[in-house]
């Protein structure tokens, strides 16, 4: 059974077509990449899946439920989490609190219990703190638990963003350019890391990336977007040899 199904998804911004007839099926624990030049509509697809934008047309199904029209927080609660192209941590909060925030939808206490700090509230909060610190330890971030997120070095901020996304207990993880700004050595570590979390957390992963080396090595399947349209889909090797993809990426060099 598919984890996510996008069927004929279309999105317009004031008459400009950003995504046109987008189709995607993700099987459990698949690792799929979306590539394409700047402005091809890659991040827009993430925004459509996570409910930041409401698709103008088409359907998106996650875990057998239609999610077009749901709010981002409802979609996250269903089990889709993401990171951002330009890191969007809660900068003035501690590393621990960044992860605790992401437990919002899972916490089982209401406003009244929170205002009065009742017994049920306390137990639940202690569980959340325990989970958060275990998760940070798992991703080797626990020694920074009390630091402000803004004080972490760049690479660790990227990792914290992934930790925060994992804290929502997702089934599907969307990574928006996880290797942006990393050197080749860091990219190699990241590739291992992505495969490791997929196995540990039984995740399906969809990622956007510009670094061909990363995409070609770890993705099982690739989609190539250009001007909102899917121009190719297939295994990394097939994509590499696809003439249309070469044209888009190499600016017609394929013809010469």
């Amino acid at each position: 059974m598919a984890v996510l199904q996008a069927h004929q998804v279309t999105h317009h911004f004031n008459g400009v077509t950003a995504v046109d007839d987008f189709n995607l099926t993700l099987e459990p624990q698949e690792l799929v990449g979306i590539i394409g030049p700047n402005g091809a509509g890659k991040t827009t697809i993430f925004n459509l899946i996570t409910g930041v934008y409401r698709a103008t047309g088409g359907t998106i199904t996650f875990a057998d439920a239609g999610i077009v029209g749901k709010t981002p927080s409802q979609i996250t609660a269903l089990g889709i989490a993401r990171t951002f192209q330009n890191i969007r941590l809660f900068k003035e909060l501690s590393v621990l609190d960044n992860v605790r925030v992401a437990h919002y939808a899972r916490a089982r206490y209401g406003p009244l219990a929170a205002l009065l700090h009742r017994e049920g509230f306390r137990r639940e909060e202690e569980t959340i703190i325990g989970h958060s610190l275990d998760l940070l330890a798992f991703l080797k971030l626990d020694s920074y638990a009390d630091e402000l997120a803004k004080n972490l070095p760049y690479g660790l901020q990227r990792r914290l963003e992934i930790a925060r996304a994992l804290a929502t207990q997702p089934k599907l993880l969307l990574l928006d350019e996880p290797a942006a700004g990393m050197n080749p050595q860091e990219v190699a570590q990241l590739m291992e890391f992505i495969q490791w979390i997929r196995n540990e957390f039984h995740l399906t992963i969809l990622l956007i990336e510009h670094q061909m080396h990363l995409v070609m090595n770890i993705c099982e399947r690739l989609l190539v977007l250009d001007f909102g349209a899917t121009i190719a889909e297939g295994k990394p090797r097939e994509i590499q040899n696809n003439p249309r993809v070469r044209e888009v990426y190499l600016g017609g060099e394929a013809q010469t």
């Binding site: 621990l96 925030v101 916490a107 206490y109 929170a114 804290a167």
Partner: protein, 337 residues
């Protein structure tokens, strides 16, 4: 830090767990004694009560402006609603012999009335934020003011009087402690972390599963509730209110106390309200120059400490131990197993 030191620091903190409740309780007991035996000069008691009312207002506004990062300039409006509802109840509804007993209920009713209106103001905050929401709250405060001016039963522009001086030091103290406790509890809960996430990055917060509408409704309701409480107390201290007392100047006063003490800080709110109230009193002999000196002070503040004296920093004794020592307690527990 090695494990034994982690453990001993956790144990020591656990022993001090009762410090804050004990402190608040003794402050309350002290206020009772002072009131009962007239230990303080009535003027000093009056100033203490003003400080208390201002602390409630500052905590209330800090929740929206400091913690949530929105910009409300309409808090005098909530205060007015609380003041008028409570006053109307004690003057026109509650029979005279029962007034002393039912006074806290009248104050609470004022707070609830303000909270209901706060709920209404929460809705525009779903759609807009920043400067635009500031305009919405400003408009709201103007509606409240002109609304009251046109209700004859409430005295219209002439104001409303006849309240007994029911606000006493112990009562003000009681409401200060309650607001402190509730607002602190809110901040150190999942809803409070939602409030902070809205300030830091609303979209990212929403994408981490925070129901931002629920959080905003709760924050606005709690905030306006306590602004209403402060209004009710204010009315029963002054024994006279009129719509002009709740205009933009009043809202500005509260803003100043928030930004003076420190945004996103309870300790900052306590400090800001106290310093500002005392400063206004001490500079009284300067007459008209007072209103030149204080804005000047504000300019200096914004230039040199734009987040206030304790901006985004909290006094450790106000943070629940569970939160303050979370990582240490976890480490101690891991080490033990």
């Amino acid at each position: 830090m090695d494990l034994s030191r982690v453990k001993s620091s956790v144990e020591e903190a656990a022993r001090k767990r009762w410090l804050l409740p004990a402190l608040l309780l003794s402050v309350f007991a002290l206020s009772l004694v002072i009131h009962q035996f007239e230990l303080l000069d009535p003027y000093v008691q009056l100033i203490a009560m003003y400080i208390g009312i201002n602390i409630i207002l500052t905590l209330s506004l800090n929740l929206i402006n400091g913690y949530m990062g929105e910009f409300s300039v309409g808090h005098a409006g909530f205060m007015a609603i609380g003041a008028y509802i409570a006053s109307f109840l004690t003057v026109k509804v509650i029979p005279a012999p029962l007034i002393v007993w039912l006074f806290p209920l009248a104050i609470a009713a004022g707070g609830l009335g303000a909270a209901v209106i706060g709920l209404v103001v929460a809705f525009p905050s779903f759609k807009t934020r920043g400067d635009y929401l500031a305009i919405v709250t400003l408009a709201f405060a103007m509606i409240v003011k002109s609304g009251i001016e046109n209700i004859d039963t409430l005295g219209g522009p002439r104001g409303f009087l006849g309240m007994e001086r029911l606000a006493t030091l112990p009562w003000v103290c009681f409401w200060v402690i309650l607001s402190l406790w509730i607002i602190r509890n809110l901040i150190y809960s999942r809803f409070g972390r939602g409030v902070l996430a809205i300030r830091e990055d609303e979209i990212a917060g929403e994408l981490m599963g925070i129901d931002t509408r629920q959080v905003k409704i709760l924050a606005f309701t709690v905030s306006s509730f306590f602004a209403g409480i402060a209004g009710g107390l204010y009315a029963h201290l002054l024994q006279f209110i009129n719509p002009r007392a709740f205009d933009i100047i009043k809202s500005t006063d509260i803003l100043i106390m928030v930004y003076l003490g420190g945004i996103g800080s309870i300790a900052g709110s306590l400090l800001g309200a106290t310093v500002y109230t005392l400063l206004l009193e001490m500079l009284r002999p300067l007459g008209i120059w007072r209103m030149v000196l204080i804005p000047l002070l504000l300019v200096m503040l914004m230039l040199f400490r734009p987040k206030g004296m304790l901006g985004l920093r909290e006094a450790p004794w106000l943070i629940p131990i569970r939160d303050r020592l979370a990582s240490r307690m976890w480490r101690a527990k891991k080490g033990a197993t």
